[in-house]
Symmetry: C2
Subunit: 356 residues, 2 copies
């Protein structure tokens, strides 16, 4: 039997991440901010985008591939838009700032759109799409993925990434509707997880260079991810890349740096966030009540044989968050061991030794 | 041998449509506007959304389901947003106005978003997403489809539609990138086309109520469309419905009126268009040159075996448009016959008798 998963509070996770980043030279306040956002990713069940990323972020920092004291600044601005230069800082810092600017502007203009260049990986897309929710705003988020695993439809050259889309819509009494999806059938992180578990991939995730299904995740380098809906997902990935990358002067297509292989070159990551103020479209309570109605109608759907429940996008994540808040965030033993080794390596307290 | 397809100029098509609509009581200027947009749909190869729709639009008008003299007006407004009340007018008129307002606002604010309620079917999504292009702006368009053919993922109740997404991004020397896609694997129009042709549908378009593939398009009523990427496409369709419908107080979910069955009830169709001004993000020429580069890199991709060419979204439509401008728009004999019958029925000149 494998040892049980240990559980940690969100504060403990945040403190551990922040202490590591501060130890590596990040200003304390920024380290706390990043730690909080990364812990929030684990809290909502975005396991692949939380503390698991810390060792690789640290590797990039230690190899000089990330700027610990960035001057994040607006380089283009209109009443409803801004372009942020992230100065190669942590993506979490850049996108939190982007979301704050978008929310502030949308209060006046009704909608705002903030793009970034010279940013970095920022964790799960939903983290930022969710930020406008507390202000009764809809959030939309687009990002250029940090490694190309997708060719054009019919092509073989890896020029596109899993470029995710996230959208968050406030409800009234119901939890918000939160969609967070890669534009490929499977995100690349899921392929890596299959490899770690020694499992085969289902048909439809990847194909090899002749178009045949590729099932062995250890052979992922010999093929590529499939876009959702075939040529449609190719088109979506491209449009997201143009909106989040090309429009901002950020990396897109052949300029994308594979952040799993190269820890030194500036990634010039591009993202974009939009905030839409509900109040600009009428009475906020009435609008949220209409969203509630849609949620309830969908949930009350007649179901296909064998289906226990119809879920709304973000609902499972919402429930996971509630459980994790109550019971703590479970980390699998293998992850915990790697984080312990990481802590020893850089010389900070392990997660277990971090006060809750 | 079937008779050859006849070809018509865009001006001839526009005049024919306009004369029919004017004859049915639409003010002459509006009839010309709608005729022009519908002919433009045929010109760009969106066959399912052009003149083929005229008999059904006319049926709705004659049964009192559409307002021929709508007072299309802004009912909510901010610097970057507007909510249009379409007063149950033709969707083409409402969305053309919406696009104009979005473009005008985006000049100042950098981005603008205009939603509609009490609108109607407006033709192909790309028609409106393309409108900002001439102003060096990106266009985004979302709409609630006019019939529910999609349940929630795992559900059976038809609460969602093919809710399309369109995006148009200006390039420099290259044609613009124009994506226009339903959030289902196949749009419902394609199912109807298969039925007309007596062909089976490929697996993956539809399933029956037990989840088994449904291949006979004549049995379409016994099943439903599949969303792209499974639960992802369900999420996308829902988000598009919330943005284009619920946010605007337009029909969404159980309120959607099936416009193929009911020609009298106000559809309260919702759509949304956004315009993003390239100039708000830096030098326009440099930005368009970057888009050109992405286009050329994708087009020059190494290709899978048997693939002759890698296409960009909108490129085939762009080429069709050039051919149709030069050679005229080809209409299949069956469509022409039905349009002739329609013309006789309402008492206007047939398309063939309309001066070019």
């Amino acid at each position: 039997m494998s040892p049980p998963e240990q559980r940690f509070s969100v504060a403990q996770l945040q403190r551990f991440i922040a202490s590591a980043l501060a130890h590596l030279g990040m200003p304390e306040a920024d380290a706390q901010t990043v730690g909080g956002l990364m812990a929030e990713a684990d809290l909502q069940g975005s396991d692949g985008h939380g503390v698991i990323r810390l060792p690789n972020y640290a590797k990039r920092i230690r190899q000089g591939g990330m700027n610990l004291t960035p001057n994040i600044r607006i380089i283009e601005e209109r009443a409803g838009t801004a372009l942020l230069d992230g100065d190669n800082g942590m993506g979490h810092l850049v996108m939190k700032r982007a979301a704050e600017i978008a929310i502030e502007k949308a209060r006046t203009t009704g909608i705002a759109w903030v793009g970034s260049r010279l940013s970095n990986h920022a964790g799960p897309a939903s983290l930022y799409a969710r930020m406008p929710l507390a202000h009764d705003m809809i959030g939309l988020y687009f990002a250029v993925g940090n490694a190309n695993h997708l060719p054009a439809w019919g092509g073989l050259s890896m020029l596109l990434s899993t470029n995710p889309i996230a959208a968050a819509v406030p409800a009234g009494d119901e939890p918000p509707i939160v969609l967070d999806m890669a534009t490929t059938v499977a995100a690349y992180g899921k392929v890596k997880t299959k490899a770690q578990r020694g499992e085969m991939m289902p048909e439809g995730w990847m194909v090899d260079r002749t178009g045949k299904p590729l099932l062995d995740p250890n052979r992922a380098d010999e093929g590529f991810l499939l876009p959702i809906g075939g040529y449609k997902g190719y088109g979506l990935s491209l449009i997201v890349g143009l909106l989040a990358g090309t429009l901002n002067g950020a990396a897109m297509g052949r300029d994308v740096v594979d952040f799993n292989r190269d820890f030194q070159t500036t990634t010039n990551t591009g993202q974009a966030i939009a905030a839409i103020d509900l109040a600009a479209f009428g009475d906020v309570s009435a609008l949220k009540a209409r969203v509630d109605q849609v949620v309830r109608d969908l949930r009350a759907s007649e179901r296909m044989p064998g289906v226990d429940r119809v879920w709304l996008p973000g609902e499972q994540s919402h429930e996971r968050r509630e459980v994790n808040l109550r019971e703590g965030i479970a980390l699998p033993p293998a992850l915990l061991a790697s984080l312990d080794a990481f802590a020893h390596d850089i010389g900070v307290n392990t997660l277990g030794a971090t006060t809750a």
